[in-house]
Amino acid sequence: MPPLTRRGPGLDRRLLLKLAAAAAAVSTTRCSPPDDEIIPYVDMPEGMVAGEPMRFATTLSLSGYGRGFIAIAVDGRPIKIEGNPRHPYSLGATDVFAEAEILSLYDPGRSSVVHHGEQIATWEDFAAGWEQAVGARPDDAASDAAVGLVTGRVVSPTTLGRIEALRRRFPALRQYRYEPVNDDMARAGAKLAFGRLVAAAPRWDEADVVLTLDADPLGHGPEQLHIARGFAARRGAEHRQQLHAVEPAWTLTGAAADFRLPLAPRQMGEVARAVARRLGLDLGDPVLSDPQRAFAERAAEALATAQGRALAMAGDGQPPELHALCHWINGRLHAPVDYLPPVDPVEAGHADELQALAEDLRAGRVAALVIVDANPVYDAPDALRMAEAVAAAPFSAHLGLYPDETAQHCQWRLPLSHPLESWGDARAADGTASLVQPLIRRLYDTRTCDEFLALLALSAVRDAYGLTRETWASWAGGDFATWWRTALHDGVIADSRAAPLALSPARPTGLPPPDAPHALTVVLSPDPGVWDGRFAANPWLQECPHPLTKQVWGNAVRLAPGDAARAGIADEDTVDLVVNGATLSGPAVVTEAQADGVVAVGWGQGRFSPAMPIAHGVGTRFVGLGARPFSRLLAGAEIKKSDRSIPFRSTQSHTRLSGRSEALFQLATLAELATSRPEREPAPPSMLGIPPRGDYAWAMVIDTDACIGCNACVVACQAENNVPIVGPEEISQGRDMHWLRVDVYARPQGGAMRTGFQPVPCMHCELAPCEPVCPVEASVHDHEGLNVQVYNRCIGTRFCEANCPYKVRRFNWFAYADGQAYGDFAPALKAQHNPDVSARGRGVMEKCNYCLQRISRARRAAEKEDRQVAEGEMVTACQAACPTRAIHFGDLNSETSDVSRLRRAPRHYRLLEELNTRPRTTYLKRLYVSDAAS
């Protein structure tokens, strides 16, 4: 792992970016819709109106599972991803990964041409090379070559079909399928409980009580949007769901919980033991301290008394036995869970498969290695020495979006098409199928997985469009043309979800006792920004703050205060993490209410492919630790203060809020709420009188109780408003550009830490402090109550930001949008830019404007029909993205509007109300079931 800063990699990054950008500039000049017919979403006018956005349903995958989204294209350029309400794993919302795909599409760092070694080659060259390698004679296709095919989780019907076709040609074909973020433990647990593989799909919105054991259902992942919506449905005061979270280190689920218990991972089973006993299954006496036992028993009681409406789930780090026990508990509780046949046909475990790959390669059992959209060299632990294993293969080809670590060790580097320029299909975690349709002609001469596999199999049909139609023609039957148009239009294939199985879990015979306590246990989890590393080259995600540590451009080592103190490590020190011999370093973050003896680190950083300038050398590659791949828990670790120094780059230095937090981030228990009465809007005390309202009075209300801190709004805002990237060096200077930030609050209450999130866009104060101080009328109020910033008028005195109590304004210290290091994306990014939003030049102030461009679009639409903009017609980018619908936006002039109603709610409050800025953006208090926290 190269150190984070040696001879300023920033410099290299800059240089490479300049070249890359220059290259991309050429390619993006010929944006146009694909040749094949694609079907616009909902009632869009037929044919394209210049400058008018068109919306197309398509599918983006995360760890193999498809999620349906709407891609917005203007003049043939995709510029934004939004949710598809019809798709069960989007439900109209997006997550950071989906939002950021738009940037990956135009990323100048993408692989764009076929490489043979260092030679630039063609697809024909590759085909020839391949045929030669598999020793097939042109006349007969069949071959006995030992082909090794490495893929991620494959659930796409078309791709599965392609693999079958390939197997027909190469009977000896061995497929190695692995996903770094996988469900091995859950699958094994299901086998224990049901004797077969099943996927448990909880109906979250039906649960009154939920107990999570080292699980993070609200955290990032393919199912986040689905679960988060169910969760949101049961937030607020009425029919509130009780969430009991037991976890070693903070997760989004823990932050959202009403009751949270920090507990060493090895002890999770003990809580389950207590619950089981309450439900009449005695697996021995749980080994817990008194407060822990109390917590467990309260949870058990809550579960037991909520028959049919209670749910328990274990995390991917926990052993199969615990998963099995949770299945039994859920069975016993008649929990709202569907048991679905697994979408992933492969039986074998992910870790086993990766290990097998290493062994087979080393044993020379693979004559021709083909890696499709996977990166084993990065993913495999150092123990497997994957790099040399791959390099040893007689023939090796890598098809990927980036020239990644694995590509560096393969003979052939082949460029993969981006989903937004591909045809194809995918299945969601519950089997719901949807089609992938391209919004733009391929930017480079790339191939989709299916096309590539077809090429390898010498299939008759070679183009993705044909292949996809082929797959579904048989499935659809009847009038295929209509079926096809509907499928594309809706973005979901009707009744493709697998039917739930009627299963009853076996009664567990026992639960192994907790293993002996270790000094320290490392808990690994995928990074909320770059996931398992596949998004590490995406600067939006690198600069998207970690929800809890607010770290950007890196990954930290999170320590419990006690352990940190014992090792003499303070916040932001660099710490050496030693796990069976291997030493990795990272900046320390001392986190309160993290279980003692737990060291939490994230996967996905520390990419070391020199050909990926953005990702290269950022953070530390903790995934390399451990003997077995993807182990979520590593026992017997040591920490010591490092003599190296790795900067901790974050956008929020203070999370423990020196006494002010009760005013800023307001909490209420259900009891308090019941007694508090709705507030009335106070009359404005003003010497000069408030100007009259215009046709509209836009306002936003943010429900901090619903917010799970997923950052989707942050990236959505960045995409919608052409918010530039500033890069690690600028972040270290204390400069950032996000118009919308999510403040994280941690405050001790009721003997535990209450952690919560508060998204902070511009407050659009009616008595805006930023306006009277502007000498040139760059910061003014418009007649609809928006506090707008006139970029062209701004001379950059920054008095407005100095006088803004909320500090929501952002200044272009350099030409971030162009010319500056990360601005050098500009040539490529111009294609991504939202044409309705002007790019800001050097030396001007910018800020959230409630998506002014969307407001005027809505107003224009309304004026055409000579009516008012209707409630819900105007949706801001952050609001659209939010998976929990925590952001409400609307018109205060209408008494009945959502926002007017919420502003009268008892939970409603204004940030820094005492300053009488009369903000238009206001908040709903975070709720807790009771004061008792743990």
């Binding site: 101080v773 950059g796 008095f799 350099f814």
Partner: protein, 452 residues
């Protein structure tokens, strides 16, 4: 001010025997300069720093103000502090001159000319910084009311627009006041100059001044009225500067004490700078006869008074911060004493309040060296005060999530050093081409003291 007029006291050393001698000494650096290596060295150093300033500004305009240490939260930094500091220094000149004139302080004559000059140069330095600090300096003129295609006017409620008018008025006014005071001396130089060119040059600027009784009649009135205008002007200018902070709702800024507190601070640093320059001139141009220990003692008393007022102002801030009970305000006060800027803050208190108390002792008051050293400390302390006013509040305002710390860059320091160099450079030139002391007033004083 604090010095009562004292007829017995002689402000001009007995070494002066004739009135003509005064003119000779004062005109010497101009008409018969002896350039010592010291003069060249100072010129070289200050010239070098001026060059550094030019380089910095070029770099600044090329790359944007990102080259400074400012960040998302602390959007103001060195330029604003330097602006307030220089303008503060720029205040003493005119005020000393005007106030001492109105109160008929004889010792004024030895100071007013170079004090006023200091005002001009310091104010010019100050005037530059708000421009350098702009994101788009080339649009500075948008804060000036002029008919434009955008149909827009300045936003009159902004303290920055007030600044523009206050500082603009102040620089113009001070220039006039300074020039009017200079005219009789220009005539003197015209009449003493040997070379025809020089004669014509000074003659042109002397406007044909003959010292006729009719001239003097109007002159004396006009000059006195100007002085009477100068006092409220000076007070208003730094009050308005203080409104850049006070007319906000940031903790620690929105204080009613700011205007008086800024004005006193301004005089304080200004008088201190006068002392430094007086010490240098005295030594460089051999003005020992006119700038005597008594002058230093007199200013020493003024400094002492100001230091006490500053102390009271600081204490007032702490008291209201605590008594007001507003969390942010209280936290800000604690932050000053315990936060990362604490060393600077203690330095400010030491230099501005504690050290000057030595001036209670005549031994220090009557030592030119002591008063000069203290004055330098005071100028450092006042700069610290200004930078902390900017930093502390912005580093710790309402939302802790936005709290940050300011880390100055090389360019921050370069611009500050550069402005000091440019100021000195200008002063060197001034001392070479214009009388640094008002010959006719000293002559008058001498005549009175010697019953001539």
């Amino acid at each position: 001010m604090s010095v009562a007029p004292d007829i017995e006291r002689r402000w001009i050393a007995p070494s002066i025997e004739s009135r003509e001698q005064i003119d000779a000494i004062i005109a010497a650096p101009i008409l018969a300069p002896r350039h010592t290596w010291r003069w060249w060295l100072t010129l070289a150093v200050s010239g070098g720093l001026t060059l550094l300033m030019i380089v910095t500004v070029t770099w600044l305009f090329g790359h944007g103000i990102g080259i400074f240490g400012n960040n998302t939260t602390i959007v103001w930094g060195f330029p604003i502090a330097n602006y307030v500091w220089w303008l503060g220094i720029g205040h003493a000149g005119t005020l000393i001159s005007a106030l001492l004139l109105l109160t008929r302080q004889k010792w004024r004559a030895s100071l007013n000319r170079f004090a006023e000059t200091m005002t001009l140069f310091a104010a010019s330095m100050a005037g530059l910084f708000p421009i350098f600090h702009l994101g788009r300096p080339y649009y500075l003129y948008w804060i000036i009311p002029y008919p434009n295609v955008q149909g827009l006017w300045p936003q009159w409620r902004s303290a920055l627009v007030w600044d523009f008018w206050a500082v603009g008025t102040y620089i113009t006014f001070s220039t006039l006041f300074w020039y009017v005071g200079l005219v009789p001396d220009l005539a003197m130089l015209r009449d003493r100059a040997a070379r025809r060119g020089v004669r014509r040059l000074y003659g042109a600027f002397a406007l044909g001044w003959r010292g006729s009784a009719r001239h003097w009649e109007v002159y004396e009135r006009f000059y006195r009225y100007m002085a009477a205008l100068a006092v409220p002007l000076v007070v208003s200018v730094h009050s308005i500067v203080s409104l850049d902070f006070a007319a906000s709702l940031e903790p620690g800024w929105a204080d009613t004490i700011y205007p008086p507190y800024f004005v006193v601070g301004a005089l304080y640093s200004g008088f201190a700078m006068v002392v430094v320059i007086a010490a240098v001139l005295r030594w460089a141009c051999s003005f020992e006869a006119f700038i005597t220990v008594q002058h230093f003692e007199a200013i020493g008393k003024v400094l002492l008074t100001a230091s006490v007022i500053m102390g009271v102002s600081y204490a007032t801030e702490w008291f209201w911060g605590w008594y007001g009970g507003e969390r942010t305000e209280r936290h800000l006060v604690t932050f000053l004493f315990t936060g990362p800027y604490a060393p600077l803050y203690y330095g400010q208190l030491l230099f501005n309040v504690l050290a000057p108390q030595l001036l209670w002792l005549p031994r220090f008051r009557q030592s030119i060296l002591a008063v000069t050293v203290l004055s330098i400390l005071i100028n450092v302390g006042m700069w610290l005060e200004r930078i902390l006013i900017v930093w502390a509040t912005l580093s710790r305002d309402y939302l802790p999530s936005a709290w940050r710390i300011f880390l100055p860059t090389f360019w921050d320091w370069a611009l500050l050093a550069g402005s000091l160099g440019a100021f000195t450079f200008l002063f060197m030139i001034f001392a070479r081409v214009l009388p640094a002391l008002p010959a006719y007033e000293l002559g008058k004083t001498w005549a009175e003291e010697n019953g001539a």
